[in-house]
């Protein structure tokens, strides 16, 4: 797995990255200058970022706006059904082109001087062009396209010059779980969003682990809900994590009045839970019958915005769709029965990380010198390869390293 991301952050924090692999310097969560470097090196650098799914723009003319860091994007489905990603800016003087979060257009019009762009990005009209600069050529002023690639409808973009091809970036262990999570073929149907801002650094938001679930989430205990024993966590050297758990169906012990909330209709009978976490900031979850893609925006060192998007599969029965709506709405988001607590931790851990010292990883640590690649379902060490990748990408040297 190669990654050409190499940073050379010269700011102060962290002064020292410890030699022990299970210690993460808390300074990396609270440093505004470091965030600027992360934008350049990671978010605008040689990494792929997930910004949407085809199912959000199902018809010709559908668009969605999204941000990559501070860069505004416009995702548009053109006449040939091809989905393109543009910078959301007029090629004349740079006015923000589209203000709506989503919609359907025949073309995009900039109101400032009424330049007109097709769904495919071509400049089709620009009033007064007879008096434009001598070197003006209309065909050179189409919308600026951002390099994109797709996997089962998932839209990836990169602004880097040396980003490896997407297949190489995903590696071998991500695609099998990811495709199952996406309903097997990515033919999804959008059910809706829950959008929220967390007062948390994007790395804190991404640092949820395999250890916490039975501890933090009281619902698992109250429902006598077992994670099973056949699950696994697998990591790639470039910071992705794949997690699967059996999650045996619960016997209703009377805790919930309406057990349909935690019923498993078995749209993916092999596994109750599948999570794919792609470096740097995307988490995707299949939990029971919920298909949930979490599009994250690193807004600042202090704020991470997450758009929880929920989907059904195109072939679902009406009944299954209804079940997915009910379950998605109530179980997994910023107000979900088994995930509101995760959201609380994102913010509390950000407050706690403004203190000296290190985030200390323990569960599953067998060596202090070697980044673990063999990790059990309920270990928290699954996060360490991602931290190692982050450290290298940003160019932090370990204590004692030349």
């Amino acid at each position: 797995m190669s990654s050409q991301c190499t940073g050379n952050y010269t700011g102060k924090a962290p002064a020292v990255w410890p030699a022990k692999v299970n210690q993460i310097p808390k300074e990396v969560f609270g440093d505004a200058a470091l965030f600027e470097e992360e934008l350049k090196t990671i978010f605008y650098g040689d990494c792929w970022h997930i910004v949407g799914h085809f199912a959000e723009v199902p018809n010709v003319g559908d668009f969605k706006t999204f941000d990559l860091g501070r860069v505004p994007l416009l995702i548009s489905r053109g006449k040939n059904n091809q989905v393109r990603v543009f910078y959301n800016t007029c090629t004349h003087r740079g006015n923000q082109l589209e203000v709506a979060t989503s919609g359907n257009r025949k073309e995009f019009e900039c109101p400032y001087h009424r330049w007109l762009f097709s769904l495919e990005g071509a400049l089709t009209a620009c009033p007064g062009s007879k008096e434009f600069a001598p070197d003006f050529k209309q065909e050179n002023f189409g919308l600026m396209e951002v390099k994109s690639a797709q996997f089962m409808g998932l839209i990836f973009v990169t602004m880097g010059k040396n980003t490896p091809p997407l297949t190489e970036w995903l590696g071998e262990i991500v695609p099998p779980t990811l495709s199952t999570l996406l309903g097997g073929d990515g033919r999804l149907k959008l059910l809706g969003y829950q959008k929220v801002r967390y007062d948390s650094n994007w790395k804190g938001y991404n640092d949820n682990d395999g250890y916490h679930a039975p501890m933090l989430h009281t619902a698992f205990r109250l429902l006598n809900w077992q994670g099973g024993t056949t699950g696994f966590q697998r990591m790639t050297k470039n910071g992705h994590v794949v997690f699967e758990a059996e999650l045996k169906a619960i016997q209703n012990n009377g805790f919930v009045n309406d057990p349909s909330l935690v019923e498993f209709k078995g749209s993916d009978p092999a596994r109750g839970s599948r999570i794919v976490q792609l470096f740097p900031a995307t988490v995707m979850v299949k939990h029971l019958d919920i298909i949930n893609l979490r599009f994250a925006i690193a807004r600042s060192h202090d704020v991470t915005e997450v758009h929880y998007a929920y989907f059904a599969h195109e072939d679902d029965s009406e009944e299954l769709v209804q079940h997915r709506i009910r379950q998605g709405s109530n179980l997994l988001g910023p107000c979900g029965m088994i995930s509101m607590e995760d959201a609380a931790i994102f913010q509390r851990i950000h407050i706690g990380n403004q203190t000296p010292g290190f985030a200390e990883f323990q569960k599953g640590v067998t060596s202090l010198m070697e980044v673990p690649m063999d990790v059990k379902q309920n270990d928290e060490t699954g996060n360490l390869p991602r931290w190692e990748h982050y450290r290298k990408v940003m160019g932090f040297k370990r204590e004692g390293e030349k």
Partner: protein, 167 residues
């Protein structure tokens, strides 16, 4: 639909609204649940964006009475000790009221929710619109209003924090 609202029914509806707001502003989830009809009731809390686009997914989707009671357990049993506490103040303004027959009324009201995080300042959580189906139950001079359905459609495209309490 020509049934006009009597002063007594109107007062009962006002009392229901007050009971709802008072319950949430005290953080009393059981009192919140008791503003809904005991046999069959629904509560939805959904973004204006989803609502406007016809996307059914919500932030809270309690499409039966059992899940309204389950939401009480989420707050009082499941999440205890995990979240950062906050208090709210709800303000509402009735926008429309229309008789729907069978002692039922359809109402819309604008709402604003202020939130005060423990140890923090006061800020706007969101605003929005309640769309209600309210029923007058009982007769003679002993009757009360209950929610058959309350749909809280909130305005924020992006909420400023994670959510514990219903809107």
């Amino acid at each position: 639909m020509s049934q006009t609202i009597t002063a007594a029914h109107s007062a009962a509806i006002d009392a229901l609204h007050t009971a709802y707001l008072a319950a949430l502003d005290k953080g009393d989830m059981a009192a919140w649940a008791s503003t809904f009809a005991a046999d069959n009731a629904r509560y939805f809390c959904i973004s204006a964006e989803n609502d406007h686009r016809g996307l059914p997914l919500a932030l809270m989707y309690d499409d039966c009475r059992g899940r309204i009671d389950d939401r009480v357990s989420f707050v009082t049993k499941v999440w205890v000790g995990t979240y950062e506490p906050y208090r709210t103040r709800h303000f509402i303004q009735r926008l429309s009221c229309e008789a729907a027959g069978n002692n039922q009324y359809r109402l819309t009201s604008g709402f604003t929710i202020m939130m005060s995080a423990e140890g923090g300042t006061t800020a706007v959580l969101t605003s929005g619109e309640y769309r209600d189906l309210i029923e007058i139950q009982g007769d003679g001079d002993k009757f009360r209003a209950v929610f058959r359905e309350r749909r809280a459609v909130y305005d924020a495209d992006v909420l400023p924090r994670y959510i514990v309490f219903p809107f």
